[in-house]
Amino acid sequence: MNGPAIAFEGVGLILGRTTVLEDLSLRIAAGSIHAVVGPNGGGKSSLVKSLLGQMPHRGTIRLDWRSDKPGVVAYVPQSLDFDSGLPMTVEDVLAILCQQRPAFLGPSRALVKQFDAALDRVGMADKRKRRFGALSGGERQRVLLAQALIPAPDLLILDEPMTALDEAGAQIFEELLLDLKDRGVTVLWVEHDLAQVRRLADRACGLNRHLLFDGPPAEVLAPERLLDLFATAPRRSLLKAAS
């Protein structure tokens, strides 16, 4: 199974009286790393949540799988806003998110092997018995990356996964991303680090309520475009160019 193509057609989102996304149409190619950049409040995370079915959006969002059976979708959130006193180890968190049987029975043998492999891949193998709430932000982010690898994903949705990562963590993330690309996984990647996007993404689109541009990062992330992207109101000319 390889990753799906994703089609956003006329997607709009209004929360309360605020228009978060307006008439957004975008196609993500199967097996590509597609980055979404834009200012805070520009609608990047809302786009991801709409894709995950967690926002009451208008328009159509379609996953075009290469076979009749849908593949595995994995998601890495920006951060975890949870009670740090929750008495769960790293392994417990993986078990809760990755298996159906009751957590107190512990993970199955097959899953333990997968946990080992995933934690090893993100450099957290020696911390599997650590209390999850006691981990640093970067360590938690690594565990979130690990959970996305169990089972092996076909579509990976990343919402600013590098925010809390240190240099070693960023290196691990980069290797992981390139490996997933080699395996044909589709990656939708919300990111604010434009240098990383230029290096790793196949395409990048700019979002500030509207879709402002979409193309190869080297072309679309030019200084002139970025000025418009991070300005509070997008220029009319740029909107026209994107449509």
Binding site: L15, K49, L52, Q54, Y75, L80, D83, F104
Partner: protein, 264 residues
């Protein structure tokens, strides 16, 4: 031991055993204010029950359940911040309940008993309701334990893993509504949430797994009910506040013991 006291003790301990695991979720998911809102709405349920002459527990479950559904729908719309919405509904429903009761001059209502609990008022029928409601809540919690824990770690992740998050959230609210309804006579409207929060908060110092925290919270709650009811009987103090004071002492003891253990 008097019959009424034995009934209160059995009912109270049963309630504490149910409140333990549910209270753990209230603490982890930071739903304390939500619990207060449901509890305050219970007074509107009392007024409705007296007006329509239906069983008060059922009326409270109906009103609290309806409030849970309204809250679930309104938080989805995101027109108002959740705590603002809870504040409006909490005080609004409590006040409507009080005003409605004031108009109903054909019934004599012991308001203090509803607000702070009254162990003298617990009948065999109430005990049946506590056990019935308790088994229902524990059964549903056992089935939903894993999905609810996944939602507690992160709702978006849980949804991606196939957990019906909106339904889970509503189920948790409805379970709280049932506990509020059956707990009314023992701890009273104003203090119900404390039976959910304080034992769970005391237990978190010592728990190494979520299940252990649920069990420890149940035990701490049962100890608070037993101690509080005996104190209430001995010194003629209202049952609800007496239970909460003992729970508070247990919490402080747990904090001190927990800090001492960590220093070792």
């Amino acid at each position: 031991m008097d019959d009424f006291f034995l009934r209160a003790l059995v009912g109270g301990v049963a309630l504490a055993l149910v409140a333990g695991p549910l209270g753990a979720f209230v603490v982890w998911r930071r739903m304390a204010y939500f619990g207060d809102t449901l509890a305050h709405a219970a007074l509107m349920g009392v007024a409705l029950g007296l007006l329509l002459e239906i069983h008060l527990t059922l009326a409270i479950i109906a009103v609290s359940g309806l409030l849970a559904v309204v809250l679930a729908l309104m938080t989805r719309q995101r027109r108002l911040a959740v705590d603002t919405l809870l504040g409006i509904l909490s005080h609004g429903t409590l006040s409507i309940g009080l005003v409605a009761l004031a108009f109903m001059d054909w019934v004599r209502v012991d308001l203090m008993a509803y607000l702070f609990g009254d162990i003298l008022a617990i009948s065999n029928a109430d005990l049946l309701l506590i056990f019935g409601g308790g088994f229902l809540v524990l059964g549903v919690l056992a089935v939903l334990w894993r999905p609810l824990l996944a939602m507690t770690v992160n709702e978006e992740l849980a949804q991606v893993e196939g957990v019906p998050v909106a339904a889970g959230r509503l189920a948790l609210m409805l379970l709280m509504a049932v506990v509020v309804a059956v707990a009314l006579k023992i701890v009273g409207i104003l203090l119900i949430t404390s039976l959910l929060i304080i034992p769970a908060a005391a237990a978190r110092r010592f728990a190494v797994t979520p299940e252990a925290m649920a069990i420890l919270a149940s035990l701490a709650g049962a100890a608070a009910v037993t101690g509080g009811l005996h104190a209430s009987l001995a010194w003629d103090t209202p049952s609800g506040p007496s239970i909460v004071v003992v729970a508070l002492l247990l919490f402080l003891l747990a904090e001190v013991a927990g800090a001492a253990l960590r220093r070792r």
